[in-house]
């Protein structure tokens, strides 16, 4: 018979040892979410841009606007298709990778997903109607068919973010003797952080899609194609992205209120606060090596001001939090600052652009600005990915903050789960290459004057 202390030590060992499937499952989730989120942004934000363009085309009888709307619709057919299937991957992965989460909390967190599914249903239906409705419906009715997609983008994004907000600040249930009881699904759907998280993501989606689409036309202008088509194709998405970019710093700042109480470890990691300093500095860059901050540029007071809205209130340091509750600090910190840095840069850039335009100076005449505008799309993608890395990695080691640790949620897998990640990487790479090849070929054919893009195997082409 084992002595009690040996038993304790053994149990300790078992609980401490990381399940073999944990790391591959997390990487798998990161890959599939990180890939899908870019397409999801287009799903959320692109319809409104198409609507504005299409409406302009009809209202002003503007063939340039109408042509752009038509092309964007075809592009969205490709983007939304891969967005739909990559979103499905996530639904499967919720169960396959995280049965501990879904089995225990499925009925707590599920209701927002049901409403998200509803929104997705409507989006898919109106997408079908809109895409195939060109020339087959009265134009005034047809243009309205894209509008529901902008609305379902809001509802869908809200619901998904409600679940994520719940993972950060779980509400709507009690745990009594290890059993989940008193489940209140509506409290989850309307949890306190859901709206702000949604607003942050929604605005981010408009930045990503707006800057990306505008960037395509910036590249065209750089190559000397400075017609009305390119100017309009640039300015409409850029206007959407501009409003989003100047709003985002405020939304992000408000979202951060009270993070020191909700998730102190995340805030400490964001701010790279190893110890509690009053007032806390703003620590630009830098990494934590063996508990020491290295290589950062510290700006005094600014940390307290920004994170705590106070001249001297300190950011609680990591040393106040038990070691086993620390997230991977460096990744969280650098990702967070990447997001903030790029967001600030983009906000400043659009302010300069519109300010100069007011003064009669068109920066679209400047090559350096066009180069920047071409880079703004990829920058917005990086900022969005970095933001998700910051919030998700910053929540570790919890999958549901304070309630369930990520190792408890992961499925019963051996290290062979890495194979899934390998295969997924190949599939996602192939899908990315396929999308790029097809979209570029569409642009090439449009430039060559081909309007309808018949499939290469169409009978009339074959004949």
């Amino acid at each position: 018979m084992l002595a009690p202390d040996v038993v304790t030590a053994l149990t300790h060992l078992v609980t401490e040892a990381e399940p073999a499937g944990l790391m591959p499952a997390r990487q798998q989730m990161a890959l599939s979410l990180g890939w899908h989120i870019v397409l999801a942004c287009f799903g959320v934000a692109f319809p409104a841009m198409i609507f504005v363009m299409h409406l302009r085309g009809i209202r002003r009888d503007d063939p340039v606007a109408l042509g752009l709307a038509k092309r964007w619709a075809k592009v969205s057919a490709v983007l939304f298709a891969i967005g739909a299937v990559s979103g499905t991957v996530l639904s499967f992965e919720m169960g396959v990778l995280w049965p501990g989460l879904m089995g225990t909390y499925g009925d707590v967190l599920g209701l927002p997903f049901a409403f998200e599914g509803l929104a997705f249903f409507l989006e898919a239906i109106f997408l079908g109607i809109y895409l195939y409705g060109w020339g087959r419906m009265p134009p005034k009715r047809h243009v309205l068919m894209v509008l529901p997609m902008a609305v379902t983008g809001i509802v869908g994004a809200y619901c998904v973010l409600a679940v994520n907000a719940w993972m950060n600040l779980p509400v709507g249930f009690d745990v009594v003797d290890g059993e989940v009881t008193n489940v209140q699904p509506w409290a989850v759907l309307f949890n306190q952080q859901a709206f702000l998280q949604f607003a942050h993501m929604w605005v981010g989606a408009y930045m990503l899609a707006g800057f990306s689409v505008a960037g395509v036309y910036a590249v065209g202008m750089l190559r000397g194609r400075r017609d009305a088509h390119h100017r309009l194709g640039f300015i409409v998405p850029f206007a959407f992205a501009s409003i989003a970019a100047v709003t985002q710093p405020f939304v992000g700042h408000v979202l951060g209120f009270g993070l020191d109480e909700r998730q102190p470890a995340k805030l400490a990691a964001f701010e790279l606060a190893e110890t509690t300093e009053s007032p806390s500095p703003l620590r630009l860059g830098g990494i934590l090596v063996d508990g020491e901050v290295k290589g950062s540029i510290d700006i005094p007071y600014l940390g307290s001001l920004i994170a705590m809205n106070s001249p001297d209130k300190p950011v609680p340091g990591l040393d106040t939090i038990p070691e086993e509750d620390h997230p991977p600090v460096n990744m969280t910190h650098l990702a967070f600052q990447t997001m903030v840095g790029i967001g600030t840069l983009l906000a400043a850039a659009v302010v300069v652009f519109w300010f100069q335009r007011r003064r009669g100076r068109d920066l679209l005449e400047r090559r350096w600005f066009l180069r920047f505008a071409a880079a703004a799309g990829p920058l917005a993608v990086i900022a969005l990915e970095a933001g998700w890395i910051a919030t998700e990695v910053g929540r570790q080691p919890w999958i549901v903050y304070g309630v369930m640790r990520t190792p408890e949620a992961v499925g019963d897998y051996t290290a062979s789960l890495w194979w899934l990640l390998g295969i997924s990487t190949v599939v996602y790479t192939a899908m990315t290459v396929g999308a790029v090849v097809v979209l570029r070929s569409m642009a090439r054919r449009w430039r060559a004057g081909d309007a309808d893009l018949p499939s290469p195997y169409a009978p009339e082409v074959q004949a």
Binding site: M94, G95, M102, G106, G110, F113, A124, V183, G434, S441
Partner: protein, 335 residues
């Protein structure tokens, strides 16, 4: 009807809708794959594009609907099935991803070589997806998914019931697609194509019908609980499936395509319902019943609210989309 049963019924309506609507889209991959050379198959492949293009994403959402209601309404059984049946589920998922992506890519491909590559991926993945989803159904129906712990990750889906389930899924999808495509071909005035499709739809129908009823023999030994249900409570549905299937064959034979679609849908819906009613009251056969698997009451009520809302806000536009696709203007080829 109890609350749990109402949610389970809503879930199963989604399964049937996905099997019928999503199934018809997957099935068109079978006809696409067997359409012959790019020149000979041009007309059919264009018809497939045109037929499923506007609807496949909406039809695909039924799968999401099913997954979401399952994990929200019956969370533990969902986690159990996903853990044990991880392999066929991931293979089906691979098919879903490749099917959707390559279908969209093919339509806008620049060259014939690219279109051919995307086309092969589209058509093959359209066949493997229903196969693996069918094996999942078979694994659950034959009682191979334990509620606690993880079942055998191979024998849970490599077994007679699963394999027949997979083949039946592929067959019913192709059968439905045949009935739909032949009607679409006629509506767009492609009589020669309709004739060709008619012969193949009849062949697919005969083969599928034979397999569905042949499957009853191995299921008898391999999945006794399901078999008892099929011979008992679900027997009328089995008979209905047979009759509707025969009626479809007869209607195709006599070229009454518009009505044949309805009987084809009825036949497949009866096959799928036969499975559901046959394994009632089990959610995971021999492991957990619908009543025992249910999650929190407040959540089940919330789900019914969501389903009610779906009936009000999703069904009308869905009907509108389907009506549009069947209209004169939408039957014209792309311009």
């Amino acid at each position: 009807m109890s609350l749990e049963l109402a949610v389970a019924a809503a879930l199963f309506v989604g399964v049937i809708a996905y099997a019928v609507l999503g199934g018809a889209d997957f099935g068109s991959g079978f006809f696409d794959l067997t359409a012959g050379s790019s020149k000979r198959g041009a007309e059919l492949r264009t018809l497939v594009d045109h037929s499923i293009g506007p609807v496949w994403e909406a039809n695909h959402v039924w799968l999401i609907y099913v997954l979401v209601i399952w994990w929200t309404g019956f969370p533990e059984s969902f986690a159990a099935a996903m853990s044990t049946l991880v392999l066929p589920l991931l293979l089906a998922l691979l098919g879903i991803v490749l099917r959707g992506a390559s279908f969209a890519f093919r339509k806008y491909a620049a060259t014939l070589a690219q279109a051919r590559l995307f086309g092969i991926v589209f058509a093959t993945s359209s066949i493997i997806t229903p196969f693996f989803l069918g094996t999942v159904a078979g694994g659950i129906a034959s009682g191979r998914v334990p509620l606690e712990g993880t079942g055998d990750r191979w024998s849970s889906w490599v077994n007679p019931t699963s394999l027949f389930g997979g083949v039946i899924a592929v067959g019913t999808c192709a059968f439905l697609a045949g009935a739909f495509l032949v009607a679409d071909a006629r509506r767009s005035g492609q009589e020669r194509l309709a004739e060709d499709l008619r012969v193949r739809a009849l062949a697919v129908g005969a083969a599928t019908g034979a397999i569905v009823f042949a499957a009853l023999v191995p299921i008898d030994h391999d999945a006794p609980t399901l078999a008892a249900g099929l011979e008992g409570r679900a027997a009328p549905l089995v008979v209905l499936a047979g009759l509707a299937g025969l009626a479809t064959m007869l209607l195709l034979w006599t070229r009454r395509y518009a009505v044949a679609r309805i009987t084809a849908v009825l036949a497949v819906a009866a096959v799928v319902s036969g499975w559901g009613v046959g394994q009632y009251p089990w959610l995971l056969v021999d492991e957990v019943t619908i009543a025992d698997a249910a999650g929190a009451t407040a959540t089940l009520q919330g789900l019914l609210v969501a389903v009610g809302l779906a009936v009000v806000v999703v069904v009308p536009p869905l009907a509108y989309l389907f009506r549009l696709t069947q209209s004169e203007e939408w039957s014209r080829p792309d311009h």
